[in-house]
């Protein structure tokens, strides 16, 4: 019965509530963007390794992270293929490379990854599905770059202009989608032969070997067998290999903690903004609530009014935040800034802010429950 009164109050005091709605919206937007940036960073750290459908990875024994490569003899791959549960093993060579743009002669550094595409472990690079990577990248000098780095690497690529990698001519033969490093360095992907040529690497050297086991194979047992036969290398499960690089960049360097801290601070600011705004809204009305309680309103009814108002303000704030998010994502799509925001993550953000609102609401309810109607006489 008092819902109409609550809505009327909201409508008539919209000027007062607009500030709170904007506060809720900005807080939610800030929380979502900050966590999106952190998750984008987290995704990009292991973007290359995670693109492979591998069960096991083999690297030099002392590997610190995917980006800190060291090479080893490719002959060990023959040994792996001898295991009855190994379906295929793909050699990968990776290293930092200097490239020069032919348009203006400027040089930059990039991370060059060469992959054996033919009959190897499946790799998803976000390329045009009609592109046969094995044949396209088999052409000497051909390579792939992320679509967002295309202009940076070869501004006139479409007109036949290319680049030089360590002095050798290269062509951008296609683009990848969402395959770029977390740093500003460009990711260049080509086939194994091209990469060895660019890097002037001996034909028997690899940086990693990605292994795919037969369906139903005991991956842990395969890992143990391969490790026993390869004392100079380290055999990782895909999860271990992923975690190695994640752990290095997230925990051992300051980058992950700083991003996570800023996301945490955004959440804290959001919590305080929502909590204090809603608490203040209720506190302002305490004398009126006391009078209403004195006149016969129950605590449940007053709580209903407070919660309805909080709910409406929160809902409007969410709508504005989600609209702002769409605009932000549209703008960020044209930049090289990485952000990961799925509907699930957005929902989590909304639930987080909803829990802040509930906390503020609970505080309001506690105050209303303890409210003495006699306050109406003392006010």
């Amino acid at each position: 019965m008092l819902a109409r009164t609550a809505v009327t109050i909201l409508a008539r005091e919209k000027g007062k509530y607009v500030g709170v709605v904007i506060g809720v919206a900005m807080s939610l937007l800030l929380v979502l963007l900050q966590f999106g940036f952190f998750l984008g960073f987290q995704r990009d750290i292991t973007i290359v390794g995670d693109s492979f459908d591998a069960d096991l990875w083999v690297s030099q024994r002392t590997l610190e992270a995917f980006d800190y490569v060291s090479h080893f003899d490719d002959l060990s791959r023959m040994q792996m293929l001898g295991d009855e549960d190994v379906l295929t093993a793909t050699g990968i060579i990776a290293d930092w490379a200097r490239f020069r743009r032919m348009t203006d002669g400027a040089t930059e550094s990039g991370y060059l990854v060469g992959i054996e595409f033919a009959d190897g472990v499946k790799v998803s690079l976000g390329t045009d599905p009609s592109l046969d990577l094995a044949s396209v990248l088999g052409v000497p000098g051909n390579l792939l770059v992320d679509e967002k780095h295309l202009d940076r690497i070869a501004p006139k690529a479409a007109e036949g202009m290319g680049l030089e990698v360590f002095g050798l001519h290269a062509n951008v033969a296609g683009t990848m989608k969402g395959k770029k490093l977390f740093s500003t360095a460009c990711l260049l992907v080509t086939d194994m032969e091209n990469a060895r040529r660019f890097l002037k690497s001996p034909a028997n050297r690899v940086s990693f070997i990605a292994v795919k086991c037969r369906p139903g194979a005991d991956v842990a047992a395969v890992q143990a067998r391969l490790q026993a036969g390869l004392p100079e290398q380290r055999v990782w499960t895909s999860r271990e290999f992923h975690d190695l690089t994640q752990n290095y960049w997230i925990r051992l360097t300051g980058i992950g903690p700083v991003l996570l801290l800023s996301a945490g601070l955004a959440a804290l600011v959001g919590f305080l903004t929502v909590f204090l705004s809603f608490s203040q809204l209720t506190a302002e009305k305490m004398p009126v609530y006391a009078a209403m309680k004195a006149m016969g309103a129950s605590t449940a009814e007053l709580s209903g009014i407070a919660l309805l108002q909080i709910g409406v303000v929160f809902g409007l704030g969410c709508l504005i935040a989600l609209a702002g998010l769409m605009v932000s994502l549209a703008v960020l799509a044209h930049t090289t800034i990485s952000i990961v925001l799925t509907p699930g993550i957005a929902m989590l953000g909304v639930l987080f802010m909803a829990s802040c609102s509930v906390a503020a609401g609970m505080r309001a309810l506690l105050r209303l429950a303890k409210l003495e109607p006699a306050e109406a006489f003392r006010a």
């Binding site: 009164t5 004398p287 004195a294 006149m295 016969g296 109406a376």
Partner: protein, 225 residues
């Protein structure tokens, strides 16, 4: 009339407050009855306990001891839900500070008096009460557009609209001019006499004396007539 069952009966009511300087006894074995159709004015110096008495009568505060009987129910020790119900069913409050909802119009503020009593919002009744307090033309105004006296009349209309068995008013004419004070006094008188309800009014305003059946003075925790 005064021999009928009282709508309000306070018997041996005691109330003390702990203060840094010691225990302050505000009500000391106080007795007071208000019969249906009766208007009782309560006066006394500041700090004599008038507001405390009004709060205990209105089930807003519990007495330390004694009986607080409203419409035949002893409510001093009753659970809160029964006290809330008693406020809905029997009481009408007119606060000194009005406590109008600033974002509701005069009409909505008065209608709120019916909503809080779980009564249907009868617009004719709202119009009737607004006419009685002389605010028909201002029914769509917000409280911020009203003078202090007009706000006081809105608060009074809100207290009366639900036809309470007992009207509790705290200085209801403090901000009214002579004409408005007389109008409110007559409104109290007519509504009490016609409906058989009662009123307990704290006031220093002698303009209300003509409508009073009794004028009580609260002094040293007790009632003197």
């Amino acid at each position: 009339m005064k021999t009928s069952t009282p709508i309000l009966r306070l018997h041996a009511v005691e109330k003390s407050y702990r203060e840094p300087s010691g225990v302050l006894t505000v009500l000391d074995r106080l007795d007071l009855s208000v019969a249906p159709g009766e208007i009782v004015l309560l006066q006394g110096p500041s700090g004599s306990g008038k507001t405390t008495l009004l709060q205990i009568t209105g089930c807003l505060l519990r007495a330390d001891k004694g009986i607080v009987e409203l419409a035949g129910q002893n409510l001093n020790e009753a659970p809160e839900i029964r006290r809330t119900l008693a406020r809905q069913q029997h009481l009408g409050f007119c606060f000194q500070q009005f406590h109008l909802l600033e974002s509701l119009t005069v009409r909505d503020n008065v209608a709120l008096g019916l909503r809080l009593k779980r009564q249907n919002v009868d617009q004719m009744r709202v119009d009737e009460v607004l006419a009685l307090v002389g605010l028909t033309k201002k029914s769509d105004k917000l409280p911020r557009d009203l003078s202090g006296g007009e706000k006081q009349r809105v608060a009074f209309a809100r207290a009366l609209v639900g036809r309470p068995s007992l009207l509790l008013a705290d200085e209801p004419t403090s901000q009214l001019d002579v004409h408005a004070a007389e109008a409110v006094a007559q409104l109290v008188r007519s509504s009490v006499k016609e409906s058989g309800s009662a009123a307990l009014i704290t006031t220093h305003d002698t303009r209300l004396h003509p409508i009073a059946d009794r004028i009580c003075t609260l002094k040293e925790g007790r009632i003197y007539e």
